[in-house]
Symmetry: C2
Subunit: 233 residues, 2 copies
DNA sequence: CGGGCATTTGATTTAGCTCAATCCCCGTGG
DNA sequence: CCACGGGGATTGAGCTAAATCAAATGCCCG
């Protein structure tokens, strides 16, 4: 748990690195937050924690998860740069989920004690928070309809396709690095490790993707991938 | 599609009937909305509609659903009195889901052309909208983790338990009327009609619930019901 | 080179789906 | 008052996709 320098040190020349400043409307709010970084695997919020916080992710990837009574981890969402974590309100009761860094993460943390005032002072921040929360809701609803009916193949294909969309101009346009292990994919997609692996090799055998090794995926046939993802969803 | 009288006719003496006024902070915003009622089965928003709206449900129950490529309806959420429907922003693109009345519904509709102004004038409304959206997000995440891992029995038991919690002081405290048909329950829980039916009779045979007929459920053993709902979730 | 971990592959089991038949509740009309 | 019909709900009999159990393989890193 390392606290970094204050976020108001994110000057204009650093905009590219400081997600929260990417949207000009959010610039004033950055001054009210504290800069913080997390190592991969570090926990920002623990389920049951009474203390809540609200933060905006600038760099890196986080997962929102919880352990079900059977002891199985369920991942209910991923958080990408620009996304907000936690809640801005004090009345929400204890946290219901863990929030853990999947990679090195930097974020701009807003203490809950002052955030309501910050929102009152900067309506654009509240607007942005609402807008992003609504977008998030749409995302989760899409996951929901996928989990309700889609086959294992469609879940895996859909995850790869969505991950590819999230990483635009990389070096190799058709090679992506999955941010999750097979086990984490299984926890996110409501499958088992074995089933995820089997569907990956199925896609490989069909010539839709290539698996160069590690967590890398080469998308050889984007159309076929999209079609597989839509199969029953 | 019947437009009723304006919502600002909901005077204080009618508070009990007018959900949007239940929260005092929302009273001023009611004046900016239009009262509208829907018959059971009527569609408020159709997926693909370019026109969006934002409304607050005062009475009745709605479902948010969409038809997947396989032609199967998936219900991604239910909306109860006090919940907001739609989105307040114009930039969101076409609607992604149908929103349909499951019972007679009355709501207070805010035209999207004026809602941003309304929110600017009444910060409490925006606060409320954000707060409810966050709560909704939590709800959907709970559904998500249920759909990811829970058994058919747990899904059905969980739905009955949650429905029971939503209807507090009814006449018979232990008898509830399910708002959904078996088919709709199946669409909501990601199961088939037959499986829902089988789990219901399983709960009945185990003495956990009674099925007096129609959509009624008598909860005979609330603890056992809660336990069945938590089984693997 | 070897140990530990993630991933893949294989064999078997099972929960829930599909297909099919029957039942039950209720409104309608003779 | 009772036969008729129709839609939802229940029950039954296989079938299948994914889980589970088990083993082998590959890979990273000391």
């Amino acid at each position: 748990m390392v606290f970094g320098k204050s976020c108001n040190q994110c000057s204009v020349r650093e905009t590219a690195l400081c997600g929260v400043l990417a949207d000009a409307a959010l610039a004033p709010m950055a001054a009210h937050g504290t800069q913080r970084s997390l190592a991969r695997g570090e926990t920002l919020i623990r389920a049951g924690d009474p203390a809540r916080l609200c933060a905006n992710i600038q760099r890196g990837l986080m997962k929102i998860s919880h352990i079900n009574p059977a002891g199985h981890e369920v991942i209910v969402g991923l958080l990408w740069p620009g996304d907000f974590v936690g809640t801005p309100f004090l009345d929400g009761g204890p946290a219901t989920h863990d929030v853990v860094a999947l990679s090195a993460v930097s974020l701009c943390v807003f203490p809950q004690t002052t955030i309501e005032r910050t929102m009152a002072d900067h309506p654009a921040m509240e607007r942005q928070l609402l807008s992003r929360t609504l977008a998030e809701l749409g995302q989760v609803r899409r996951s929901l309809s996928r989990l309700a009916r889609a086959t294992a193949l469609a879940r895996v294909a859909g995850f790869i396709a969505e991950t590819a969309q999230r990483r635009p101009a990389a070096a190799e346009p058709h090679v992506i690095e999955l941010p999750l292990s097979r086990g984490e994919m299984a926890d996110l997609l409501g499958l088992t490790i074995e089933t995820v692996s089997r569907q990956m090799t199925r896609l490989k055998t069909a010539g839709v993707i290539g698996l160069p090794g590690g967590r890398q995926v080469m998308i050889q046939d984007p159309d076929a991938l999209a079609e597989a993802a839509d199969e029953l969803m």
